[in-house]
Structure formats: structure tokens, C-alpha cells
Symmetry: C2
Subunit: 254 residues, 2 copies
DNA sequence: TAGTGGTCTAGACCACGTT
DNA sequence: ACGTGGTCTAGACCACTAT
């Protein structure tokens, strides 16, 4: 009846361990259905909530996902995460040539950019600080979502100084060939140096919905700061990635 | 009595939303105790398991952590994550000067390297492939854990080609001043180029224990490949980081 | 000792997907 | 129609922490 009586471990932990071992050994392959609540109740003589707890462990570890009315299935870790080459993708030749930075990352797959919103606002404290403008100064904000083969993989929000981009195509939904960086270059503020900061955490409920993340899937947050000649910050871009959809790569000399 | 009857949302979701709003608004600050199971049962007229479910949501989001016998507390996100400068830290001047790559990252804090193990083994398929050696060839493996101010923050496993490092200090627990890279340089195989691949996922139960991770904390996996002059791979290092303890930074030119 | 979270039971109704 | 996971109840005992 109690938890510590029989063994040292909680029942649901032991059941979860057993299922996990089955996944790692290949007895349950990607896409396979795991024993369900009723199966586990019968096999281990436990209550429904205990069986659920065991399955919940695997879901929170990202190893399995539940589909209502169907069962709990082993996750396909991972289909084919996008390789994002942090340094080469931002080489000037890319956007200088009018080529979208995102296009060749997608490869053969269909990339859709949706939920595009662009607006002007007054810089609050944190934004003003990183952009290097006065609090209350006009900044333009670009927000959008990237969907690859029907699966949302990233959201991004950019902040740009209003005194540079006001009245230019950067404030339009479509920034034209080469994107924002090509336009900034034409304005004499082409980025010459970048800094990317990478964090990872669990998503908020809203982020999980917008990226359609299953339980047990973290997000990777990349904050890129773009510097023009002279050191002025011309863009700050905060990207929120589905951790399962991306591998970030940086290659550099010693 | 039912879930969909009263509102659209499950009760535990609404309770979790309310608590989350309280955290984000600052009503509950970092380190504060949240209303406990009994409080929520009384306040919302729900059963214990329902109150638990609500608190569980916040814990899995990484916003709160439970302490047995004490309560559920708002997490201190984040104390002071280590800033890991991916590119500068591997500049030749660093390890060339006999300075540990890890030392100045730790700053004032106390860094302990423990659980050090070094052994020789025959390369399996995946390792042979990335190291560029034959399957079955001798490789040396270095495994260790990094503990910062008493908190484990990273584990690391390195693989090195046996034909280069056999019989050298690289196969000892202590590799001496400048570490492995300085020794490789003395052997004529100093790294001149690096590639780092970054992924993020939820930890396994074992990883969570070894890094003492609370629920809702992902790990970041960094796989670094070091290339010597001529392109030969001289080391592959797989690092598993507590996502809450690190910010990775890469700074580079366009 | 009193209160806390951790585990567990044995029921129940629901929305959903597959058959 | 049936089985699935999702939610919920009203109890219970335990180990742990704080007082």
C-alpha cells in the first residue's frame, strides 16, 4: 500500500524505469505505442493514477508523447533537425547577394513565415539598454514565426533603432531581397559584427502553444546583437527555437 | 464535478495560470513560498491531487521547486549563470600560456573538478566515425564533472586518438598546465580549428541526478570537435550543461 | 508536534480517436 | 461502440522540515 514499504523506489518510478529501458533497448522503437494505462494497471497491479504517473515521467523527459484516444507513443527523436550554422550564415556574401538567410537552411523543405507583425513603439528600459538608445526613443519591432513543413520551429522578435529605419522598407512586412541586413547596409549601417547569446529553458504555456511543443520539449533562446562599423547596435533579435528542431553549429579558428 | 462543465479549461490549469500570473506580477518573488496544497484545496474547493497538479505545472515549467516538508517556492531564476565565451576562450593564447580554460570563467567562485576518470577503449562505430579512426582502434576517454560553488554545472567526456596521446600526460588524471590542448600542441597536434554543435533536451533520470537538476531544467549538450593543422580530428568533447547555469556566447565578424 | 509535499488507492465521468 | 488518455474526487499513510 505504501511507497517505501516494498522497495526503495516509488512504484511509478520503477515502472517508468522499466519502460525507459524498453525504449533504450529498442524493444519500443520510435513511433511505437507503449503499454497504456490499463495495461500497466493490470501488469503491475496499481491504480490508474500510478500508471499515469509512470507514463507522465517519460513524457516530461521528452521520450514519449500521448495522443488522446489513441495511446502513448515513443517519440521520433529526431526527424531531421535543422542545422543552423551560426557564423557562415551571417557572412556578408549571403545577404549581400540578396539571398535570404533562412532559405538554404530549410533545404528542400517548405518554409513559411507567418504571424508577421511590424510596429513602432517607445523603447522601454531593457530594450533601450541593449540597443544603446535613450529610454522612450522610437524603436521598430518586427515579430514573426517560422513554420517548416507545417511545424512551427521558431519565433523571432527584432528591435531596430527608429532613427535609422523609420520610413524605410525595414518597417514593412516584406523587407525585400536580402532582408533587413541588406537594407541596413544600403542605409550605411550594415552589420559587421555579431554576438549571439544562447540560453535554454522550458517554454511558457503560451510559447508551447505557439510552437506546438509537446511536454518535455525545451526552447532555445538565441539573442543576437548586430553591430555596425563603429560599434553602434543596429539590431537586437530574440529568437525562440523548438529545441528538438534545431542543432546550432559554430565553427571558428583557435 | 467535471472538467469541461464549468469552464473551458481544466481546474488545475486555471489554478496554475493564477499562480503563474502571481509570479510574473511579482506578487510572489524569487524564493517566496507559494500557496501549498492545503491552501489551494481550501481556496478553490478542489481535491489534493488537483492542487498538486497545478503546482506540478509550475515545477515542470521551471518556475517553482518543491522542498519536501517545507513548501513550494518560486525559483531564483537565475543566480548568476556562467558566461561561456565560445570563441575567445579557445584562443591559442589561453591554453598556450598554461592557463586553464575553465579558471577565468569561474571568476571568484570556487570551481572543483571531480569524478575524474580516464581509460582506454576500442572505438565503437559512432566514436570512430567522428574521430576519423578505424572501428576498433584504441582511443582514450576522459570523463569528469565540474562543480561550481558546490553546485554541479557540467559533465564532460572527451575522446582522443590513441596513436597520438598514448603514453603522454593526456592519459593521466592531471594533464598539467594548459591542459589537454597544450599537451597536444607539444605533440605537434595543437588544435587550430573548432566546431561546436549545440542541442538542448530534457535530462535523463541519471543526468538529472548527477547534475542535481530540479524538475523543469533542461540540459544543453555541446559537442566540440577539435581539428589540427591538416584537418585531422584530435579531440571530440561532449559536454552536458545545466541549462540554468550557463549562457553560451559567440561573437564573430560578418 | 504540526504541517508540508510525495505516494497511492478505487472509484468516476469526459472528450476523443479508432474501429 | 469501444478503448484511449485527461480530469477529478475523497480518502489514506509516509518521510521530511520547521518550530
Amino acid at each position: 500500500m505504501d511507497s517505501a514499504g516494498g522497495g526503495r523506489q516509488a512504484k511509478y518510478v520503477r515502472i517508468a524505469d522499466e519502460l525507459r529501458a524498453g525504449i533504450q533497448s529498442g524493444r519500443y522503437g520510435p513511433g511505437d505505442r507503449l503499454p497504456g494505462e490499463n495495461d500497466l494497471m493490470a501488469a503491475h497491479g496499481v491504480a490508474r493514477m500510478t500508471a499515469r504517473a509512470a507514463l507522465g515521467v517519460l513524457q516530461h523527459e521528452g521520450l514519449a508523447e500521448a495522443r488522446k484516444g489513441a495511446g502513448v507513443f515513443v517519440r521520433g527523436l529526431w526527424h531531421s533537425p535543422t542545422r543552423r550554422r551560426g557564423i557562415q550564415r551571417l557572412a556578408q556574401e549571403r545577404w549581400g547577394a540578396g539571398r535570404s538567410v533562412w532559405a538554404d537552411e530549410a533545404g528542400e523543405r517548405e518554409l513559411v513565415v507567418d504571424q508577421v507583425e511590424v510596429w513602432e513603439e517607445a523603447a522601454g528600459e531593457p530594450v533601450a539598454s541593449v540597443l544603446g538608445v535613450a529610454v522612450g526613443a522610437a524603436v521598430w519591432v518586427r515579430s514573426r514565426r517560422f513554420v517548416l513543413d507545417g511545424k512551427p520551429v521558431m519565433t523571432a522578435v527584432s528591435w531596430l533603432p527608429g532613427d535609422i529605419v523609420a520610413g524605410t522598407p525595414v518597417t514593412e512586412a516584406d523587407t525585400g531581397p536580402g532582408g533587413t541586413y541588406a537594407r541596413l547596409a544600403e542605409l550605411g549601417f550594415g552589420p559587421v559584427r555579431f554576438r549571439e547569446e544562447i540560453r535554454s529553458r522550458m517554454p511558457s504555456a503560451e510559447e508551447a502553444e505557439r510552437l506546438r511543443l509537446g511536454a518535455g520539449t525545451p526552447v532555445v533562446v538565441v539573442v543576437r546583437t548586430a553591430f555596425a562599423e563603429g560599434g553602434r547596435v543596429v539590431e537586437v533579435n530574440e529568437m525562440t527555437l523548438d529545441a528538438g528542431s534545431y542543432v546550432l553549429e559554430y565553427e571558428f579558428d583557435a
